[in-house]
Amino acid sequence: MGVFCSIVPPHVLDRLARSSDPSVSAAARRTLEHDARQRTRRRLATAIGPSGATAVSARPADQPDRTVYDARHQDTLPGRRLRAEGTPPIADTSANRAYDGLGATFETYLRAYGRHSVDGRGLPLTASVHYQEDYNNAFWNGEQMVFGDGDGRVFLDFTIPVDVIGHELTHGVTQYTANLDYQGQSGALNESVSDVFGSLVKQYSLGQTAAQADWLIGAGLLAPGIHGKALRSMAAPGTAYDDPHLGKDPQPATMDGYVSGSADEGGVHINSGIPNHAFYLVATALGGHAWEQAGQIWYDVLTGGSLRADADFAHFAAATEAAARARYGEGAQLQAVRAAWSTVGVAPAAAPASGLPRQNPGEQTQEA
């Protein structure tokens, strides 16, 4: 069973295991049991030495290299170092959540796709918490993660949802791979890819199947009293929130609701609902763990080198069909991908997207 979970703090799992939601409690119990087995296995490995004991010098480590800093409510990054890799939890819960979330994201990419960190070559993961005051945002600045505490009135601490951390680090992965232009449809794809893998980080961490997952982005981030479940819903775009402080979730699920305009780089956080929903449809049609087949297809497209930086939805759809065929042949996977894009109203481009890839170098060339 592909459950990872030693990164999710045991006290959280304990709480989840007592959840009134049977799918949540069952997954958490499985994880706790899995964790216990893993600890046993690690002790055995320590005692008898690594299997196939070979030291490959150029190979990146299978462990993350995390450092969490305190921005001390200023805008200077990274700030004061709070917690380094391998050190125990500290009093600052934001720092611990960031540390755990970086680890959960690293583990998901490594175990599901064999990817070593954001750049595929073991890039150290850096995060700063307590950025500015009452700051309602989290972002990847091209080199590191930045988290605000939220204002406590509308938004809580941005380190709370692990999918937010996975979302932001995936912006880093995209930067090192498909490098999708952050505007218009390619920008909406950039955003969607971050939501997809952000959600997969959460699902992998909890050991959830596509049917068990909540498919929400930012669950747990809205302050008490705010009317909403999360910021985005991949299962039902446009239904995540409806509140006087926030307005109504503006995401469309299909091309009928596509929004144009100049704000938000052409609505990259709005139109991402369309490819988000396509991924959800593929994952739930195939069933099982979403990171295994649906996620693999999307990962192949993101990192495969054929996607143009200015790819639109039609290019991306064609690329997912090509990736599904390349990996799984003319089977259920390809059918699910075709049906999903049809449902959201995207007609795949006639020829697979190719030419002019603007990928950053180094992605596929390690371990030379």
Binding site: N136, A138, F139, W140, G142, F158, L231
Partner: protein
């Protein structure tokens, strides 16, 4: 002088907009000076903005500035924070 700040983007993508008239504002002189400084010096206009970094459009005295996180000058950050009443 009328100063308007419009925010888009950010992880939450919740838009925000606010405006002040400096003549009616207790700190009008300070805001007007900040606006002059903010519009005079775009910070790293060619640097790539962070994905999920807030995007701002600041309009003051008929002039318009587009800027994005994390490339804000201290004056831009303070002006946006004061007008919007929220972290910038």
């Amino acid at each position: 002088m009328r100063i308007e700040v419009v925010r888009s983007g950010g992880f939450t993508a919740v838009p925000r907009q606010a405006a002040v008239e400096t003549a009616d504002h207790p700190e009008g002189a300070r805001l007007a000076a900040l606006a002059e400084a903010a519009l005079a010096s775009p910070a790293a206009p060619d640097a790539p903005a962070a994905p999920d970094g807030f995007r701002y459009t600041v309009t003051a005295g008929g002039r318009t500035l587009h800027c994005a996180e994390p490339h804000l000058t201290p004056q831009q950050r303070e002006l946006i924070h004061r007008v919007l009443g929220e972290g910038a």
